[in-house]
Amino acid sequence: MTTMTGGLPPPAPTPLFFRRGFRNLLAQGVYVGVTALVIFYVVQALGGREYGFGFLNQPAAFDVGNQWLINVDGTTNTRFTMYLVGIWATARVVMVTLLLSTVLGVAVGVARLSPNWLLSKMAMLFVEIFRNMPLFVQIVLWYAIVLFGLPQIQNALDLGDTFFLSNRGIAVPWPEPDGGLYGGPEWLTAVWAAAVAAAAVAAWFVRRRRQELERETGQPHYPNRWGIRLFAGGALVSFLALGLPLTIDVPVLSGTDYAEGLTLRPEFTALTLGLTIYTASFIAEIVRASIQALPKGQTEAANAIGLSGYQRLTLVILPQALRQMIPSVTNQYLNASKNSSLAYGVSYADLFFVANIIQNKIGHAVEVFALIIVTYMLMSLAISVVMNFLNSRLTLTRV
């Protein structure tokens, strides 16, 4: 022992303040202390009042516009029903925005890498203009353009008596439930929808079975062909059997508004347009970056086996780039869905707008905002779950 350590003096003790364990403890102590103070303050501020969500079950006493597929009014329906209408309005904007901004974003992102000078510069201009302007400014701008740029309803732009454009909105043809040829009840449409769903399920099973057979026997069983045949056949036959229980309603002008068809109101149009274009400009950059991140050899190998430019893009480049971009695109989807609350700026009755009306009329700010926050969080969670599922599917299985 003496021979081993005899040369070394005893170690000097580390002062308490310089010990790592003590430092960690100190930091955690400060954190706990500050949190306790904040909670104490919040409880103090909120205390002494009664809380509850009972007010949501009273009649709303206000109306909201921009309803679709539903018809509620403030005299017979509760505040909570109105809030659900707001959620439905938000959901419509978000669904359309996510769909369109993805299509537009991928197109612009691909265009930006095009060897065509004009196309690539136009794509660059699109991205640089729309991602560098505040979203709220864009939405208000689109609203002004739709309201003041389009003619009044009396002079509506008439595109072949099928589409109409005016500052009352954009009217497009839309399928409507119908009793069918035999004048049956309107729920025949729902029966048909169920038949289509059943055909889809059956087609899916048949396709799987034929895939298995093909694998087992090594003989062709055309799974995709039979799946599509069964689905299309089922949908068509049930449609005919039920006596065509769906008609396409073409809009017509009626006084100072449209009748029939589907009317996209200026508020909806401006909000969706602003959100879509803004989000698409970011998605375009993500698409561009993930394509450029692929090894150059992928393009060369695709060229070497003789694929055309379009085949190279759709069969080799995009399937790989899409996987790369899912996490970043999920972020953009979450941004877009929460940015939909800017509906407030153009008085589109989304969930935030409706909740604010309730809060202005009856108070209960704490409950109303808790409700708003929880709703948005659930929406974000739903988008994340779907995108994570997609991500795991795409990264694990064959494309």
């Binding site: 062709p220 090894p295 050899g297 992928q298 060369e300 190998a301 695709a302 060229n303 070497a304 086996i305 003789g306 694929l307 055309s308 085949q311 069969l315 080799v316 399937p319 790989q320 996987r323 064959r398 494309v399």
Partner: protein, 252 residues
């Protein structure tokens, strides 16, 4: 080895005349004039940066040459898109980094070209793909994905993928340079079998054993120019040019 007897009378399938290629101010190819006969095996040697890869990449127009002419099986390589499509289906290429499509199974990697470019029925394309996988010795890997294979197996799949387009000419751009030493032989064996089957091949490689044993002719590139060419025996044992001697003294 190779097909000397056959190639004496065979027609020329690749002809280049005064080919030049510039990358900015850097001249990558300087007045390259050469020809390759049908069924001939040509190995291209040279120090790195000598333009040998650039040259064979010009032969299927992955690079566009700036001056001179390249004619493959009577097809002029120029900006005529019809010629480009024709050439891509005549000339197969195998890359140093394999460049398999990572999102497709081995089978789909091989059938993609035949199905989408040649419009072959799936069934037929898959049968052909399985035959090719037998030929390169890995039929059991058909359902796997490239990332699950070793480098040597990936390169053999890449060769099968090229062959599936039924090319008349195969170009190899350093096909064994990215491989671990123990996998080089399995790829070279496949290439040798291909050579013996009568394929026209242009091979950029550092494998001197392959050059000596399989090539009908060796070409030596330096600083973008075709410095010397000849039979392997002539090239390795009796080089004329100083630059060739210097190169051989460094590698042998």
């Amino acid at each position: 080895m190779g097909n000397e007897a056959a190639s004496a009378a065979a027609p020329e399938i690749i002809v280049t005349e005064g080919v030049e290629k510039w990358f900015g101010d850097f001249q990558a190819l300087d007045d390259v004039t050469m020809s390759v006969k049908e069924h001939e095996i040509v190995v291209v040697l040279g120090p790195s940066g000598s333009g040998k890869s650039t040259f064979i990449r010009c032969l299927n127009r992955l690079e566009e040459h700036d001056a001179g002419r390249i004619v493959i099986d009577g097809i002029e390589l120029n900006d005529d898109v019809r010629n480009l499509n024709a050439i891509r289906s005549e000339v197969g290429m195998v890359f140093q980094q394999f460049n398999l499509f990572p999102h497709l199974s081995v089978l789909n990697n091989i059938t993609l070209g035949p199905r989408k470019v040649r419009r072959q029925p799936k069934r037929e394309a898959e049968e052909q793909a399985m035959q090719l996988l037998e030929r390169v010795g890995i039929p059991e890997q058909a359902e796997k994905f490239p990332a699950q294979l070793s480098g040597g197996q990936q390169q053999r799949v890449a060769i099968a993928r090229s062959l599936a387009m039924q090319p008349k000419i195969m170009l190899f751009d350093e096909p064994t340079s990215a491989l671990d030493p123990e996998m080089i032989k399995e790829v070279l064996d496949v290439m040798q079998e291909l050579a013996e089957s009568g394929m026209t091949m242009v091979v950029v490689t550092h494998e001197m054993g392959f050059a000596r044993g399989v090539a009908d002719r060796v070409m030596f590139f330096d600083e973008g120019a075709l410095v010397e060419q000849g039979t392997p025996n002539h090239f390795f044992d009796n080089p004329r040019e100083e630059r060739t001697k210097l190169f051989l003294s460094q590698i042998l």
